[in-house]
Symmetry: C2
Subunit: 429 residues, 2 copies
Amino acid sequence: MEPWQLTASAAAARLRDGTLTAEALTRSCLERIAEREPVTKAFSYIDPVLALSNARKVDKAYAKGILHGLPFGVKDMIDTADMPTSHNSPIYEGLRQGRDAACVAVARGEGAVILGKTDTVEFAAGGRRALTRNPHDPARTPGGSSSGSGAAVADGMLPLAFGTQTGGSLIRPASFNGCYGMKPTHGVVNSEGAKRYSHTLDTIGWYGRAPEDLRLVAEAFRLFGLDIPLGKPLRQLRIGLCRGPNWDVAAAESQAALLLAGQRLDAAGVAVEALELPAPFRDITEAQRIILLGEGRGAFLGEYLAAHGLLHQDFRERVENFAGITPAAQVAAYDLAGECRKLFDGLFPGLDAVLTPAAKGEAPVGRQDTGDPVFNSMWTLLHVPCIGIPCTTGPNGMPVGVQIVGPRFGDAALLDVAALVAPVIDPAR
Amino acid sequence: MEPWQLTASAAAARLRDGTLTAEALTRSCLERIAEREPVTKAFSYIDPVLALSNARKVDKAYAKGILHGLPFGVKDMIDTADMPTSHNSPIYEGLRQGRDAACVAVARGEGAVILGKTDTVEFAAGGRRALTRNPHDPARTPGGSSSGSGAAVADGMLPLAFGTQTGGSLIRPASFNGCYGMKPTHGVVNSEGAKRYSHTLDTIGWYGRAPEDLRLVAEAFRLFGLDIPLGKPLRQLRIGLCRGPNWDVAAAESQAALLLAGQRLDAAGVAVEALELPAPFRDITEAQRIILLGEGRGAFLGEYLAAHGLLHQDFRERVENFAGITPAAQVAAYDLAGECRKLFDGLFPGLDAVLTPAAKGEAPVGRQDTGDPVFNSMWTLLHVPCIGIPCTTGPNGMPVGVQIVGPRFGDAALLDVAALVAPVIDPAR
């Protein structure tokens, strides 16, 4: 087995006991990248000399951090002090920032080897797509906007990578690429240094190839409650199976994946019960759209004024409020979100997690359509932690995942639930 | 009259009709700065050659923007592409970022002359204080954390400057220094490129020397509703006089200022009515503290790991959760805030604005105590627009202001109200 094939958690154990060095793991990942990158095109910036230099610095560290020696990819709308941050925008081609984004500083501070910048949809929001292809079928999208991060982790190029989610930019690519992904509770990871689209929605998250990988990163960020074990076995879990308000638009393979995951859990002795969300959730998907577009109005005004001709029409329309969002609609959307957050949290601790679709279906064909965030956007607005888990394949042999969701700040318990249910839901585990 | 003595709105008219150039106004401000800076110490970075070069670029612009030719100060925790951003932290001394923060890009895009960086409390949050002195008495604080911005505008060094408010960092210095300040609705101005402390609270705002100055900046940011006139005269206004839940801790001069402002309005024919906030507001000040400390836990983790020895004890305590904030308390605080936002908005349109104290009292003596945010923090959490208006002086001859507050997204109407009530409340206008 080559080092690049190790999950982050397996590699971390060897890096800790000294049977693997950061340099050796980084070299192995660089070899995998050299092999796969011509097809997958996950990176917008990678310099092997710099990556190896970062690895050697980690090998010389006085102490080993939580992410010691683990190569880490950074979505190219998150600042890095040692690499350019293009946002996939012609405005910022070659842009060098003076310091790391907060999340990168934490990863680096805990010993991660920052390996390269992964391609993204322009500003993680619209406009230009990433060049990235789905590693399972290069004719298909890896999803967006965290296109390169999801594809790179799934394709074995690196064990961990940062993505972000404002609508469905993190969990959807996890489903399309067949890897694990975590969107933690909104705000627990400082998103400073990542391009702002919507302050209510933008959430930093990460990809790995096992639930334990996701947990390692959560530990680096000191998420609440990681020292408190869930304290119950698989057979004592109660899971709410939630079709959600958009079930009718799910493709057959996504509907089948959810029901299959539920059946597998049921067969393993988990109490799986159908969960109907209360009436206010009817309008929650629309509320997310209103907030996204309303906050997007101010988000790109700087670029609109400073570099109008280089700003994609998508963003000019946001600034000019083509969608016609009114203050009254935006306030109503905020207030509905507040109400639904409270209602959703009220389902716990009666449940241990909610199981719900992760994406509309398989990854679409082509590069332009990165998929629909409809099965993610409401959870982003609810600020709740979500973990994407691979489940099955669709009619074209493409991965189809599901996600589990917890209450606000229930990240640690949700990671424990993921560790228990993933081997049941994901036969590859 | 020297050009530096002009308010932003008065200068803007001359800059538009060509009777004043950006260079001439900038030179005049630089002369004023040369005279006053040895005492006031408002700037952490200023380079007259760069400032004049920025002014000349504006004089050569193809078209005149909304802020054409107006010198603008930037609080030194907001990124500027052409000047260092130190955050008043030894970690970031001399830090050069590759691009402007979003708010700076907008100001520059609308023709402002970015003049210099104004001193701030470390990370606008704690630790080291600014060196800035109150222009009315150098033995006293200008307030914090927007220390340099408030003092510089009040002292005539520049007509406009950006500040930020997470607790009371913008409106309190306006009161202490005797100038005007606006904290718009949370989120309508993109805070990307400003140091993050609390994503729920951090709000970009600005200082000027007249309500019309504040409006100019609001126009640059395309705040909602600026094209819809309020459409009523002073005598048709209804103002809620709100002592608020912290009235008992207000110094005599702040209590007197609020009542005096109410009497002046009443005498001018405004309908002033006592406003008692409903019961949930009892705990809103504490909710702000919980959210501030809870979100502050993640905000400084990057610096904590990367530069532990250079990070002030204040921030290490945030990261280590010395305050013992629990997830349950944080969630309850978010939910209370949501409830109170709805309740407060419900007061409108029955009222045109709420009139309430802007600070606990006069500016304290010394540099360490920058004053208490207790009369600001609840409004920051409510996300509502606030405008600070000078009113009177206290027992030591120091300025004491009041503030008017509107509903979320009611920024434009609040600016109209400010234009009507300021000449009544502030005898210097």
